[in-house]
Amino acid sequence: MTDLARTNDAAFTGPVLQAVNLSKNFQKLQVFQNLSLDLQRGEVVALIGPSGSGKSTFLRCLNMMETPSSGQVLYQGASVIPSFRDRGDQIGIGTLRRNVGMVFQHFNLFPHMTVLQNVCEGPISVKRMPKAEAQALGMHFLGLVGLAEKHDSYPSKLSGGQKQRVAIARALAMQPGVLLLDEVTSALDPELVGEVLDVIRTLAREGITMAIVTHEMAFAADVSSRVLFLDKGRIAAEGSPDEIIFNPSDERLSNFVSRTRN
C-alpha cells in the first residue's frame, strides 16, 4: 500500500481515526483506562472534563505524542506501531503524524523562522514538496487564518492570538485528515481568545475533522457535533452538545458544566 492510498483516502468510509481501549499510566499513576473513540470524517468531537481527568494525555496519545501503555490507535483502519517507520500494513508514527495534525496550548512556533517558513516547513521537509508550491500552499492557509500580510514577520513580533493562528495554519499546511487541538486558547489573554475560536469555527464549517480539548463550554457546544465528558480517566458521559452541556443528566457533569459555563 502506498502512502497516498493509505492517507486522506476519500473513498475510505470507516472512522478516520480510532482509539481502541487506550490506557496510559506514568509508573503507578493511572491517567486513564480503556478509552475508546471513533472519529468519523468531518466530525468535531470536544473533550471536556476537570483538570487531571486525562483528556489532554488522551489527545496526545492519538498522535502518539505520548505512547499509550496499552490499546491501539488506528488511522483509516491501519494500526499504528510505536516506531517512526511503517512496517507492512501497519503505519509508523511518521505517517500517523503527517496525517494527524496537532496544535498546542503554547503555540510552539519555530522562533528562528518567519511566519511563512513556519507554515511551509512541514510540506517542504516532511512531504518534500517543491518550495514554490509549498509557499503558495502556505500563503493560502495564512489567508485562511487571516494573517497573509504577516508572512514575513518573525513569531516574536506577533500577539498570542496571532501566534496560535499561525500554529493552526502550520498544522493545516500538512493537509491532515484530522486536527487535534490541545487547549489552544488556555494560554491566551481573554481578549485574544475570540479570534482563535473564530478560526476554528471556520475549520469546522469547512468540514475538517477535529478532536478538541477545551475549557470553553460555549465554544465546545457551538463547534462540536459530539461531546465527551472525561472524569478520573473514564468517559463519564457522551452525547450531543445539547445533552451534555445544556441538559446534563449526571450530577458530577452538571456541577462541572455549571462551574465552567458563563
Binding site: 496537532m102 516547513e121 516532511v126 512531504k127
Partner: protein, 221 residues
C-alpha cells in the same frame, strides 16, 4: 638596575617566531575541528536513549575535564606508548590530546545548548511528521547553536592559549620557538615579550569579533 631593550637580534630571528605562530594556529584550528567532531559524538551519546553510551561519554568527559592538560600531554606522550607498545610521534600525541581535551568541553557546551531549547519545539517538529534527526537539524540545532556560540568561542580562545603547553613535547609552536630564540640571543625579556604580544595580537581581534557577534545575535531575537 638598568636594562637596555634590544630588539635587533629578535627581528633577525623573526622567521622563527613566524614559524612557531603558524604551528600554533595549525594545532588550534586542527584540534578545534577534531574537537567539534568529538564533541558532537559525545553530546549525542550523552543525550542518547542508550544509557550505556551516556555513561561511557560521561567517563571520557570527566577524565579530560578533571585532569590538567599538561598531565594529559605527558601521559599520552610518555605513558600511553608503554601501555600499547607502539611508539607515539610527539605531533600525533599533541594533536590527539588537544582534541580530546577540548572535545570534552565542547560536548558539555553543545549539550547545554540543546537541552536549553524548550521541549515544545521538539514536539511541534514531531507533530508535523519530522523524524527525530530532522527535528534536531532543522529545528533544535539552529536555535541551540545561537545560544552556545558565546561559550564555544570562549572555549576556543582558551584552546588557542592552551596549545602553548605542547612545547613540552618539543612541538615547535610559538612558545617553543620563543625559547629557541632566547637560547640563541640570550634576550629572554625581548623573546618572551614578543611571544606574549603575538598571542595577544591574534586573540584580541577574535574576542572583539565574538562580542560583536553576540551583540548582533541578541538584537536579532
Amino acid at each position: 638596575m638598568t636594562y637596555t631593550w634590544d630588539f635587533h637580534s629578535i627581528w633577525q630571528n623573526f622567521d622563527l617566531f613566524w614559524f612557531g605562530l603558524q604551528v600554533t594556529v595549525l594545532y588550534t584550528v586542527g584540534s578545534i575541528v577534531f574537537g567539534v567532531l568529538i564533541g558532537i559524538a559525545t553530546c549525542a551519546a550523552r543525550l542518547s536513549r542508550w544509557r550505556f553510551l551516556g555513561y561511557f561519554a560521561r567517563l571520557y568527559q570527566e577524565l579530560f575535564r578533571c585532569t590538567p592538560l599538561l598531565v594529559q600531554l605527558l601521559w599520552f606522550y610518555y605513558a600511553f606508548p608503554l601501555l600499547v607498545g607502539v611508539n607515539v610521534d610527539n605531533h600525533f600525541a599533541a594533536m590527539l590530546t588537544l582534541s580530546l581535551y577540548v572535545g570534552a568541553f565542547y560536548a558539555e557546551i553543545f549539550r547545554g545548548g540543546i537541552i536549553s531549547i524548550d521541549r515544545g519545539q521538539q514536539e511541534a517538529a514531531a507533530a508535523i511528521g519530522m523524524s527525530p534527526s530532522q527535528a534536531m537539524w532543522r529545528i533544535i540545532a539552529p536555535q541551540a547553536i545561537k545560544r552556545m556560540l558565546p561559550s564555544f568561542i570562549n572555549q576556543s580562545v582558551i584552546q588557542f592559549k592552551n596549545t602553548s603547553l605542547i612545547s613540552v613535547l618539543s612541538v615547535a609552536d610559538l612558545a617553543y620557538m620563543a625559547a629557541v630564540v632566547n637560547g640563541q640571543t640570550y634576550r629572554p625579556l625581548e623573546s618572551y615579550t614578543v611571544m606574549a604580544l603575538l598571542y595577544l595580537a591574534i586573540l584580541v581581534p577574535v574576542t572583539q569579533l565574538a562580542d560583536l557577534l553576540e551583540k548582533r545575535m541578541r538584537t536579532s531575537d
